[in-house]
Amino acid sequence: MRRIAVISLVGLVAGLTAGCSDTNDELTLVTYSSFPASDTDLNDALAMFTDQTGIEVNILNAGDAGTMVTKAVLASGNPEGDVMWGIDNTLLSRATAADVFEPYVSPAATSFDAQLVELGGEVVTPVDFGDVCVNYDREWFDNSELEPPASLDELVDPTYADLLAVQHPGTSSPGLAFLLSTIVRVGDHWTTYWEDLVANGVLITNDWEEAYYGAFTRAGGDRPLVVSYGSSPPFEVLYGDDPNATVAPTGVIEDTCYRQIEFAGVLRGTDSPNEARQLIDFLVSTEFQQHIPLNLYVFPVADIELDKVFVDHAVIPETPPALTPTEIDAGRATWVELWADITG
């Protein structure tokens, strides 16, 4: 038994120390867990980058977005990789405050929406964006005498009592986005707005799955209104029985949307800053950006013709100016606690 122990210990150490070499022809792209590790067009595009430049790209999955950023903050200066993909505007200032990034904005960004670029604070480059919106079940509203609510204000109308499911902003990322949406859109009286929502029977779940696949009427629940993503309707079509359907089974209430913007940046402490910058440039190039919608469910920042399913079923709503990362970081804990007091 002792021999087995020794062998497995030696094996352990050998295994742990193997594969640590990081030369300049190799980059590690740190991403959140929903970034595809292999097989998709995004990965094929990265292989193309390798063909063009001779630089290998390894994808490192660092957990969900919050975990990825928390880790980067702790490892600031001695990063796990060279480039980070997908830090969003609710998390960005946490990272910049800890000097996680070596400032770099791709020259291509001059052609992007200036508002998105500005939120990056000249430290990171925007790579994609998407919205969190209240979705409604078309069939449910067709069968009832109600029209779907048209605005945030109508959600507190007793006509729509007991119809809405939202997520806890302390445990769910779309939940936090929806809270921020109410703060931006309602302003100082957002606490009153939430008191009204509670009085109107809002259902609070801990996770998106619980709301979308538990409470939502399309999943057999009793809530025809649910906080989800602006890209949920096209994916209901795309992944549904009839990918050529003319009407998506769900719709989006544009006046409730909140925009989330994702960025990519060079991690401070990388051995290969030049190659890292090259990779950022590639990530915002047409070759890579064109594959974003179908694989990451968000919209590209580069000006690209969208797939038909997005043109037909997705909306890119006019949203009010997003809160800056600094405002979000300063307010988040207080807002979530206030929110928790109101919703009990």
């Binding site: 122990a5 742990l16 097989d39 490192l60 702790l74 796990e80 549904g240």
Partner: protein, 524 residues
């Protein structure tokens, strides 16, 4: 331990040698990472802020309260079926035992959905949390008791002499089973105390555990310092608990384990009842795997192993690869855990005093928050040649740390029944101390060790929390893939996830049955 003569004990170098590996591993992979994190992140301000926040105290109260209730419920429900299975042989015994292990690896989201389906209304808070904890941890109690030696002969003797069955239970069975039972209770309590997935889904703002609060502070609110303070509070509370348990623990008297008897009708009913209870979430899974968008469909099963959404559109991960990755990870994790467990058990058997300490240290992983450990490992192993942050062996190593207490517990329970005098007699008759020790413990620990290995496989196959905290490149484990399928909009992803959960449960059952079969052969 005065009654044992020093001469009959293994030499001191042996005691030291055997305790070094588990202690060193615990220091390297548990104590150092947590200490590093405390050193880097915690300030006096964070400590003051956390301790003066009334929320902290409410969370501590709820964490302890729900863990107590959950533990009492689990032990109360698991005791009788466990005893029946321990003393009976019947067809399907191994199947029943593996069923509990399969429930233990159920993805938390699925278990939560099952509990919701069982309870009317839209429950959140204490009741659903306790029900879910009980379902999960029944496996620990029932399998633990079933693997323990049973004083069948003593009981029969008492019965023949006219003792009432209740008196037999109170004066013979339970006292002799005490070390096993106390150990299992401690493990279940620690598991419920540090519960994450169940509470994150079924808890509410006011009913939450320290573990969930650590995650909320660290990951959601980005207050790493406050999160770490909470993690230290959790660790200290459990360390105190473990300390009290070790100090007050008594050895039971030695006895000869008897052979299993045919099962009675009443026994059959008890076993059937407990199986029915834990089958509820599995039945919910089967139903769910045949439902797509509210109607019955086999598309989830047809696409189960596919890595595509439709031709030309890929998922970005591969279920077949995930099954292989999970199997390889579980193999490594079980090998690590068994190695550790054997060393710990050897230490406990060689020297009761040192053994107690090592035994306590082995319980530590139960008290460490996965979030804290994940972040601690990140900042500890970050300098070459120890830059192991994305090493593919980190995941099995993490699983092994988590699984070790489960392997050690029942084995140490069995060891408590060891007849020390027999060891001493052998030594007196000229056997070398280490040899005589080995001769007397190996037959005693083989069966619980193999049963523990089954549980280690199950833990590794089903583990989600720690895995999701570790950075990784390359293949994902099956629970991670299931979670990713569950978080996608549209399509048959949910049915596929449920189908894969059933594959996970079946694989667990198969492996556990195989190991039990080997164990039973050994016993004969």
């Amino acid at each position: 331990m005065g009654r044992h003569h020093r001469l009959n004990h293994p030499p001191p170098w042996w005691n030291v040698a055997i305790t070094v590996p588990p202690t060193a591993l615990a220091i390297a992979f548990i104590v150092t990472p947590v200490a590093m994190l405390v050193g880097q992140a915690v300030s006096i301000d964070a400590i003051t802020a956390t301790l003066s926040d009334s929320r902290t105290w409410r969370v501590i109260w709820f964490t302890t309260f729900q863990a107590l209730i959950s533990t009492i419920a689990t032990v109360a429900i698991g005791l009788v079926p466990g005893l029946v299975i321990a003393r009976s042989h019947f067809r399907g015994r191994q199947f029943v035992l593996s069923l509990f292990a399969a429930v233990f690896v159920m993805p938390t989201v699925v278990m939560a959905a099952g509990v919701r389906a069982l309870l009317p209304g839209d429950p959140a808070g204490l009741l659903p949390i306790v029900v879910a904890h009980t379902m999960f941890n029944l496996a620990i109690v029932i399998r633990g008791i079933a693997a323990a030696p049973v004083p069948v002969e003593l009981e029969q003797a008492a019965t023949v002499l006219g003792a009432h069955p209740r008196d037999v239970a109170q004066t013979i069975t339970l006292p002799l089973l005490r070390p096993t039972l106390v150990g299992l209770t401690a493990v279940v309590f620690a598991l419920c105390f540090t519960s994450f997935g169940v509470v994150r889904i079924l808890g509410s703002t006011s009913s939450t555990t320290l573990e969930v609060e650590i995650w909320r502070e660290t990951i959601i609110l980005g207050r790493i310092d406050r999160g770490v303070v909470l993690a230290v509070i959790q660790l200290v509370m459990l360390a105190i608990g473990i300390g009290v348990w070790i100090v007050t623990r008594r050895r039971s008297d030695a006895f000869q384990s008897g052979s299993r008897q045919p099962i009675s009708l009443r026994g059959r009913l008890v076993v059937a009842g407990s199986c029915l209870l834990v089958s509820a979430p599995i039945i919910a899974l089967i139903q769910g795997s045949f439902r797509v968008n509210g109607s019955i469909s086999t598309s989830g099963w047809r696409n189960l192993l596919s890595n595509s959404i439709r031709p030309g559109l890929r998922l970005g991960f591969d279920p077949v690869q995930a099954i292989l990755v999970s199997l390889v990870t579980a193999t490594f994790a079980t090998a690590f855990a068994l190695t550790l467990a054997v060393l710990i058990v050897a230490a406990v058997a060689s020297s009761p005093t040192i053994g107690r300490v090592v035994d306590g240290v082995a319980m530590l992983p139960l008290g460490i928050s996965a979030v804290t450990l994940g972040l601690g490992l990140l900042i500890t192993f970050d300098v070459p040649p120890f830059d192991w942050r994305a090493s593919s062996l980190m995941t099995p190593l993490g699983h092994a740390l988590i699984a070790t207490p489960f392997v050690v517990r029942p084995v140490v329970g069995a060891l408590a029944t060891m007849n020390r005098q027999q060891v001493d007699a052998a030594a007196t008759l000229g056997a070398r101390p280490i040899r005589s020790l080995a001769d007397s413990i190996i037959p005693l620990v083989t069966v619980p060790l193999l049963s523990g290995a089954g549980l280690a496989v199950a833990i590794s196959l089903g583990e989600f929390g720690a895995t999701s905290m570790l950075s990784r490149s390359g293949g994902e484990t099956l629970p991670i893939v299931i979670e990713r399928l569950l978080t996608r909009t549209g399509g048959d992803f949910r049915a596929r996830a449920y189908g894969l959960s059933l594959i996970l449960a079946s694989a667990t059952m198969g492996i556990v049955i195989a190991l039990e079969t080997v164990a039973n052969r050994k016993q004969r």
